[in-house]
């Protein structure tokens, strides 16, 4: 889980954030604060599938479920268990 969090943090910081310097922790809200826009959820979904081999169903890829990296990893874990 910690490895997932670290990978997600790096990916969001380097590829998805408006301002990479604002991405500092796994418990900070990202979408509701505007640090990451909701458009990024589509790319995040692809990244999760490619890197973690977990397919999160589209209806679950919401701003609510991925506002923080911690929340996002918990969501991913739910579907990893189902696999």
């Amino acid at each position: 889980m910690d490895e997932w969090k670290q990978k997600l943090l790096e990916y969001i910081r380097d590829h998805l954030a408006q301002d990479p310097s604002q991405v500092t922790s796994t418990d900070q809200p990202l979408i509701s604060t505007g640090i990451m826009d909701s458009f990024a959820l589509v790319e995040l979904s692809v990244f999760i599938e490619e890197e973690f081999g977990v397919s999160v169903p589209d209806p679950e890829m919401t701003a609510e479920h991925f506002d923080t990296i911690d929340l996002g990893v918990a969501t991913i874990a739910r579907f990893a268990d189902d696999a």
Binding site: H15, S32, S38, V42, T62, A63
Partner: protein
Amino acid sequence: MSEGESSGASVWHQGRLLLGVSPGEPFNACERVVDRHCARYPEATAAIHRNHHGDRRVFTFEDLRRAVSRFASALDALGVKPGDRVFTLLEPMPELFWSILGAIRTGAIAGPLFAAFGSEAIRDRLGDSGARVLITHGRHLLKVRAAIEGLPGLKQVLVVDPPADGLRGIERDLAALLADASDERPPHPTSEQDPMLLHYSSGTTGKPKGVLHVHEALVGHAATARAVLDLRREDSYWCTADPGWVTGTSYALFGPWALGVPQIHYEGGFSSSAWYSLIEAERVSVWYTSPTALRMLMRDGVEAARAHDLSSLRHICSVGEPLNPEVIRWGLETYGHTIRDTWWQTETGCMQIANAPWLPVRPGSMGKPLPGVTAAVLDPTTHEPLPPGQEGLLALVPPWPSMFRTYWNRLDLYGARFRNGFYLTGDRAYTDADGYYWFVGRDDDVINTSGHLVGPFEIESALLTHPAVVEAAAFPIPVADAGEAVAARVVLAAGSESSRELIRDLKTLVRRQVGPYAVPREVVVVDRLPRTRSGKIMRRVARAEHLGLPVGDLSSLDES
């Protein structure tokens, strides 16, 4: 055109009555939306500003008048003259609204940019418009510095919340400038035909073009804010659009304030709980939003909505892309109201065809032309009106008050939008026997992604800045929730290989240079792209190949 489309009193006439101006009478839009109300009800609420930290600030019309006066006199002190271009790159914070109105107060032309624009998007717009001043936030300085290098026309960059490591070159601390500024700066006596606003709009080829609007546009904003949004001073109104796009200036600034209506400005990202909490806390009665937002709210389910008291809502409208019938049905079930779609463009300045409150809604339809608007569906070749049921080019009969007056420095392209006495919208549509309009799609290569129009050329240009990419074609693809997404096909340089990392890097390039809304959902490496004999990339054929559709008769596309 069927009879009755233009029946009833023209909404433009009503707009002038609401504004208190006669045709040809000079006025300054800033004066009409701010000072006019101060004479009658200075302590009435003009804006409620909220951010994602939970801060809430209330501004009266008198607060607004003093703030925009200070901004205007600060611009005076910098030597800004009527007709100069003053641009903003700010989230919807109070300073954004004050900057736009402050510039207009001086007779300058305001140019609001979407804060998430990438560096190339910023550079293109500042360079094309010859902007003199840019007002931005400290957090954007990194990309602003990259964007403005070598732009000789730009004289000052005014910074909200400057960074701790200081400002350099032409950057100035905005707060320090405002501290010395007068809050009693009268509006410049503009004529109604003087320019006031420059928004950039994407076309099929080349860079985005500056769509120029004049003070008279306010007549259209006021008229439609009343006729379609049904706004009254006792409403609590929230338009979710950002003033970096035209909806955010016409309907999160000018229209409601032209009527003296208090509005909510929210500076934060999307989440269904944050949005519903805001509607509940502010007792929002009229809500103007987008199909993308509604689809995201739908995804979060009815329960998310039921967890909040949304009973204050009385009227909901939508804009940006066609509203799918499924969303309308869901909205009725969830909010108890029929969501009403509206159609207009950056160029039209305000709503033209809409599901106005008096019209029975046919889900999926654009509605009907507003009284005073004459629309038609034209034959693509002859530009003659077609009968109901036949698909063609959606067109409007000019002029109307908020019609754009030119594309900045591109009068040639402006002229090309008018044929046979019609303004060609670039959209395809048909009418039914009862005069309802039905949107079919774009008539050009412009991509509508989540309500943002984006030109393929901008995306291709960003992709081509990667050393491994030698050719690129960007085009729209349909997505599951009834919208459009961007896709791209690229040809790599000899010796370069496709990889997961390369695709990620390409998407990031588009995000950083153009903006997050323009990022291709799919990027596919191909050996070749279809070209005309003269070497022009045929995006429609590339799209057909991408989607596995019949490519069709290429001869007709050959030199198009």
